[in-house]
Each structure stands twice: as C-alpha cells, then as structure tokens.
Amino acid sequence: MTINKQEVEHIASLAMLEFSDADLPKMQQDLNKILSYVDILNEVDITNVTPLCHPINKDIKKHAVRKDIANNEDNHELYQQLAPMIDQNYYLIPNVFEDKT
C-alpha cells in the first residue's frame, strides 16, 4: 500500500499538523517506507485470532486492575495557572467560526 501527496495532506489535517510544500515529499517518502516495512504482517495467518488490546491477562484474578472510571477531583485552579491564556476559568482561543460579516 502506498500513499500519494493528497492522502499525506489529508492525514496531516486529521493529525492537526501542517507541512510545507518543501517538507511534504520527505514525509510521504518516510511514510511509504514504513508502510512497506510493515507489509510483512500480511504473511501471518490470523484466522480465528482475537485482537490483544493490552498485555494484562484479565483471566488471572491476581492480575486484576480497577475499572477505568474517572474520579471527580477538581484541580482546575492549580492547572489553569499553566494555561497560555485564561480569563475567569475560561481558556481563551481564537475564532472557531468564520466571521461572515
């Protein structure tokens, strides 16, 4: 599988990255090299094999982990001190919608 210039631009926009015209060919070349490298996986017979999301074996009781539930700890005052631009608990960002006036 090889990817063309338009696909690289599309991936970049999904990834929120921005390559110049000068940098795009190298990224395209690198991605194609790596995709060619990973083609080796097509050799493997994966019939009836279950995907493994992470290596902890949930069937072993003593290897159990807690449920992935967030707590409701509120540290916003502490963390907002790190923000580049804030105003009264709001993070300031530029326009999301285009100005049509």
Binding site: M16, K33, L41, R66
Partner: protein
Amino acid sequence: MENKTLLELSQALHNKSISSVELTQLFLQRINKYDKQLNSFITLCETTAMQQAKLADSKLHSNQAGILTGIPLAHKDVFCTENIKTSCASKMLDNFISPYNAHIVDQFNHAQMIMLGKTNMDQFAMGSSNENSYYGAVQNPWDISKVPGGSSGGSACAVAARLIPAATGSDTGGSIRQPASFCGICGIKPTYGRVSRWGMVAFASSFDQAGAFAKSAEDLCLLLQTMAGHDAKDSTSVACEVENYQQNLNQRLDGISIGIPKEYFINELDADIADSVMQSAYILEKQGATLKEISLPHTKYASACYYILSTAECSSNLARYDGVRYGYRCSNPKNIHDLYKRSRHEAFGDEVKRRIMLGTYILSAGYYDAYYIKAQKIRNLIQQDFINAFQDVSLILSPTTPTSAFELHTKEQDPIAMYMSDIFTISANLAGIPAASFPIGFQNNLPIGAQLMAPAFQEKIILQAMHNYQKATDWHNKTPSLEECSK
C-alpha cells in the same frame, strides 16, 4: 566513591563516613565537570537537592533513615516533578512546570533519595539514539562519537559515566534496555502493570512502563523494590503482591532452565555479540542453570507490529497538545485550526510528527482493519509464543541489540535503520513481560549487553540470574575513562 554500589553508599552514609550533603556535592561536581560534553541532563536541581540532602543527613543522624536515604538519583524527563520543569525533551513542553509528582517520584521521595535533576531523552520517548531531543543529542561516555541509545539515553549515560549512581527510565519498545546495553550498565523494564504510570507522560499506553538503571543486579533490586506496587491512580496498575527481590539473589540457578530463542540469532546480529551471548549462557550454566534452544516463531513480525500499534496509540495520546491548556502555543493564531496546527507543527520534532502521521493513517477510516486490528491479532500470537515457551523454561536469554552503539548523526534520516536497533527488545513490550539488559563484554571498546526475559511478575528470577552472572564476571564494574569529556 562514585563507583560504589547503592548498598556500599548506604553503608557509608549510615556509618557516617560520608554525609548526604558531601555525596550530593560530589555527584554535582562530576556533572558540572563532564556533562557539558555528554549533555545527559536537561535540568539540574542543585538547590532542592542540597535541601533534601540536609534533611536526609538529619534522618541519618536520628536513626530514622531507610536503606536508600540520602543517595542521589536522577529522573528521566518523562516523569512529572512538582514545581520542576518536565519537558519530555520537546519544545512542546519546554515551558511546562509540572503541578504534581509522578507516583514513582513520590515513591523515591518517600525513600528519601536525593533528586539531582531530570535527564535528557528522545522527545516524548520516541527514538533509539537520544538524537531527537530539543536540547541536543546525548553522547555515549565510552566514545563521544557514538550514541548512548534511546529514548532513555540521558539516564543511561549519566549512570555509566558515574554522574549519578541510579536513574529512572521508561521503556515502550526497548528504551531502557537498549541504552543500558549501549552504555554498559544494567537496566530493567518491569512487567506491564508492575510500576505505576501515573505522572509518566504517555507515549503508547499499552506498552509504556517505568523502570530503572543502575550498575548491578543488586542495585536494581533496591530500586525496583521502591518502584513496584499497586497505585489506584493508574487504572492499569496491577494489585498483585510485590515480592522481596533480594530474597533469592545469592541462590545458585539449579532447577532454572534458560531458553535461547533461535529466531534472535539472525544475519543482522553482529557475530561478536552472538558469541558473547553464548559465553554468558555457559557462565549461567556453570551457576546451575540448564540451557535449551527454544522457538519464538513470530519474532520477525514484532517490529512491524509494534510500529503499527505504538504509533496508533501515540497519535491519540499526543492529541492533547493543542496550545490551549498547557505547553507551547504559537503566536498570533488566525483561527482555531491555525492554533492547533501551528502550535503542534512548530513544537513537535520530526520523529514525533512521523509517528503521529503514521498512527493517524493507521487509525483512519478504511485502514483500521488492515493495519490496527491485524497488528493486535499478531500481538496476541507474539504473547502466546512467550506463554508457550515459558511452559518449558523459566527464563529467556537473548542479545539486547544487534550491534553495539552506532555513530551519531548516521541514522536520523532513515527511520527503518533506526527501528532495527530495537528488534530484540520490542517483543517483551508486546507481550507485557519483564526484561532486563546487563553488560557481557565489549566490541571495539564499546559495551555489549544480553537480555533476560521472564514470565509476567517474575522480575525476581531475572535479578537472581543477573546477580549470579555478575558474581562470576566483572563487566558491570568497568567504567569509561571520560578523558574526552572534561575538555
């Protein structure tokens, strides 16, 4: 003094032949003398370190000290440290002062170790050479024209150069073991879930694991004993009991079988390294172990599998860096997309962007099954290879890397050449099993290492085998001359 083990330093502190303040000053002097050249530290914490050392001395004088009290330590700059810059060696976090400590930082603070600073690394833990740092490359203390390995290159270099007696690292695909091998020291990646990932900046969440570097198996025991254990803040932290890692350390290896996987002895493996690994196997055999050739049939697919899954996970994990809540923000963004794109593009290094792009492609509509799901299934087969092998053997011995440390600035532009450096370490991350590297000799005056792997949560047996090897050999006591480093 800088060549003493953690146990010897502990004894010296407890019998008052040196104070923690003196010991801390000694290592700070060494860092000031050699690190301009080596570049293993990003941040030095001299003031807080001296405060911690004074406190440690008062604990030592009032018999309230533990075994590691007063001994200096460095943390890889991937671990959050409260009120101290935590950069992940990236422009993206160059301005980030962490508001909290990683769990392992708290654990070592509780053990009263002295934090001297944060070590250099490949950006966001992505790399195998420590050339991908915003703060410049780290050099190998054995030969400054060579890489120290990565991504924990700073920690490995600092311990090898005796700038610090112990350091933490993180290992996602070999980032502790490969630099340990290149720098001639010991490094351990525990079982996935053994050590908390809370406060360790995420790269690939189903692979990342915190671990440590030291000069010997005995020293690694003390560090792992401090780091291991359940942490409720990390939802992937396993609540199984932490063993006493020192308990069997001095027992011979009778009854222990060591498998040598034939798939690791490939053409790409340097012949000298292959010989040295076999010599180390025979030494372990003399300590009572039995050797057996085994097969891990899916080994050759491990690297490709890793680069699909880890890049997919990293593209998701690094989506949080958006210039809004913390970290780098581009100047004068025109709109929200400009803010996101320019902040990320201006602050991430090339390797980070490459992996985000690959991961994004892999997870995108139309390619998800062809790559991501397929790789997850192959990950299952790779894990099963180890489960099957460990029915027959207690440990697996292999080379850590196919070559010794390579020249600086020779592989940066060729990602595949760089990825080949990790082909022997990656499988342990895919399977989630513990693995460690230890020095077994030299090739052209550069260190080489062997790797021991064990079933999940069997770190104790790795350390026992490593210690037995180190009782019979002297490689772990060799130190670089550092002649070229103090100019």
